[in-house]
């Protein structure tokens, strides 16, 4: 039996390596450091993430395969890595003061976040279904622990348990789908699956496998029939982790979905687009309608995150170059505006999560009130914020591909969403403050993260062209 040495290429996995090494370093330092010296751990972590971000940018505009065609470095994966890494950066920066407040400041927290980011990056730049599964598992296992990080809080325990059970179930679906695809095409490599699907005959197994993969990834992106874990998990998990779950894994799931659906199964677009059409409509409508009646802001943003998954699915249905680039632009914009909104909830703490607690916020913390209003406007899709441009590109790509009906349903849905986003703004601006608690100064790093996300939201809204060109340059060649 011949044996091939895998073509190891450390250059193309350098961002992943940086993240991995920093995560291991934090894990080693955690038990060694005592007391106050542990304060350097978050700083090591975010510097590592920033270094990885720099290394991703240096790898831009290169296309290389490695590790026996399992790993691909292209602009598509780089763009998604930029999304993951900026999300992670924002979450790490904003959770330093939160962890101290909640008395759960442990080094493992940062280590697990970095491992989860590593898993996402693996998912985005993999060309093999098995490696996609590996990345998904690395990411998910870390998130299950992180969701239960407030160990003494029952809701956090519940959140972790629910996320674990449903996530394990979803992984089973995904793996079963991969097995079916392997049975049908004799390969787990997406390129070989692509060659197979361009043939004349497609066995039934192929579609069963694709359906199961859609179910498995549907759980991760929280699309309609697979969304039931979202509100409970988002409510119970520590708020920075909620922000993390709602941006990173969702984008990672979409990166895998885009690669599988529009790359490997691109030639069968007619067959699967109708299924996604229905899923997109149901996801948007369900998320938006249920969000109307929420009184807890974390649950409200959970349902809003379901709705946003629906908007991105619209771009997937549209397909083609404009569909891919608009989905990527949307996910980038969503990362900034969503984490931005969560940063303010992080600052206000775990006890103030009811909408009534936000009344008169703007008189107490004018800066926070105004920025939260900005993020709410952006989530609702008002110009000149990134949410508007993102929705504009998604819906215009749908119209370009001839899905006018879907675009109309999407726009109607964003009208519905305006009600609950603006309700938060109304409560903040037009009601008297409820309590006269002492005002706390905004911590430096949390403020920095807030500034960064405000910049992202406004830059992508006012000058979207630079990032849109970036997204358009990073489309993988469909087939």
């Amino acid at each position: 039996m011949s044996w091939l040495t895998p073509d190891i290429n450390f250059k193309i996995i350098s961002p992943e390596l940086i993240i991995l090494i920093v995560a291991l370093l934090v894990l080693i330092l955690e038990p060694l450091l005592k007391g106050r010296s542990k304060n350097i751990l978050p700083h090591i972590s975010w510097i590592g993430v920033a270094l990885a971000l720099v290394s991703v940018i240096t790898l831009w505009n290169r296309e290389e395969l490695g590790f026996n065609q399992m790993f691909i470095l292209d602009n598509f994966s780089c763009f998604f890595k930029i999304i993951f890494l900026s999300g992670t950066l924002l979450v790490i920066l904003s959770s330093i003061s939160y962890l101290k407040e909640e008395k759960i400041f442990h080094g493992e927290y940062f280590s697990l976040i970095l491992f989860a980011t590593f898993g996402m990056m693996l998912m985005a730049s993999s060309l093999n279904l098995i490696v996609i599964f590996l990345g998904l598992e690395i990411m998910s296992l870390c998130l299950y622990i992180l969701a239960g990080f407030r160990r003494y809080d029952l809701k956090s325990n519940e959140s972790s348990m629910k996320y674990f059970l449903i996530g394990a179930f979803a992984s089973g679906f995904l793996l079963y789908g991969i097995a079916m695809l392997y049975g049908a095409t004799n390969s787990t490599n997406l390129k070989e699956i692509l060659i197979f699907t361009q043939g004349f005959e497609n066995p039934l197994f192929l579609f069963i496998g694709l359906g199961l993969i859609l179910v498995g990834l549907g759980f991760k992106i929280a699309s309609f029939p697979f969304h039931m874990w979202v509100p409970d998990v988002y409510e119970g998990a520590p708020t920075p982790i909620t922000a993390f779950i709602s941006s990173g894994p969702k984008a990672a799931g979409f990166s895998a979905l885009l690669r599988i659906l529009l790359f490997a199964f691109g030639s069968l677009h007619i067959d699967w687009s109708f299924v996604l059409w229905i899923l997109a409509v149901l996801t948007m409508s369900f998320g938006n309608v249920i969000a109307l009646s929420q009184t807890n802001i974390k649950r409200l943003l959970a349902y809003s995150s379901i709705a946003h998954a629906g908007y991105v699915l619209v771009a997937l249905v549209a397909g083609g170059d404009s569909g891919i680039s608009s989905a990527m632009f949307y996910l980038l914009a969503y990362t900034f505006m969503n984490i931005g909104a969560f940063i303010i909830i992080i600052f206000l703490g775990e006890k103030k999560v009811n909408l009534d607690d936000y009344s008169g916020l703007v008189t107490k913390y004018p800066i926070l009130g105004i920025t939260l209003a900005l993020f709410m406007f952006s989530l609702a899709g008002f110009p000149p914020t990134s949410g508007f441009m993102a929705k504009f590109y998604v819906f215009s790509s749908a119209i370009k591909s001839g899905y006018t009906g879907l675009a109309i349903i999407g726009v109607l849905n964003s009208f519905v969403s305006v009600y609950y986003y603006l309700r938060v703004v109304v409560i903040m601006f037009m009601r008297a403050p409820v309590d006269e608690v002492q005002k706390v100064p905004i911590p430096f790093f949390l403020g920095l993260a807030l500034l960064f996300s405000v910049w992202g939201t406004l830059h992508l809204g006012i000058l979207p062209q630079s990032f849109l060109t970036l997204a358009q340059n990073s489309i993988f060649s469909p087939f």
């Binding site: 044996w3 291991l24 894990l27 955690e30 038990p31 060694l32």
Partner: protein, 118 residues
């Protein structure tokens, strides 16, 4: 497709039928003399003591979980040792990296005191 899977289906039917027939036969042909000892829970021939749903320290659980990690390490090491000569230096380095990452985990466990019983 039918032709290739037919033997497996046949085997499945045969096996199910066999199991069914044997259980049925022993039920009808065998003599049954139930006694108190025969009807009690089987616990390796020792008289059962107490309830199976007793509580025991969570430390056992932790040890069991940690055991699995290092057990799997052995599972990886064994086939590696078999093909070691074919893999040459590459295999040595790969396994070195694998063990190094596991050792970091071990270091973390020991330092955190997860193996201390008291």
């Amino acid at each position: 497709m039918f032709k290739t899977y037919f033997p497996i289906a046949l085997l499945l039917i045969l096996v199910l039928g066999m199991a069914f027939v044997i259980v049925l036969l022993s039920r009808f042909l065998g003599r049954r003399i139930p006694s108190k000892d025969k009807l009690s829970t089987y616990e390796c021939g020792i008289e059962p003591t107490g309830d199976a749903r007793g509580r025991f320290p969570v430390k056992f659980f932790l040890i069991a979980i940690l055991f699995i990690i290092f057990d799997i390490e052995i599972v990886f090491l064994y086939p590696w040792a078999v093909v070691f000569k074919k893999l040459k230096v590459f295999g040595l380095i790969e396994m070195g990296i694998f063990l190094f990452i596991l050792l970091i985990g071990y270091f973390y466990i020991v330092k955190k005191g997860a193996l201390r019983w008291e």
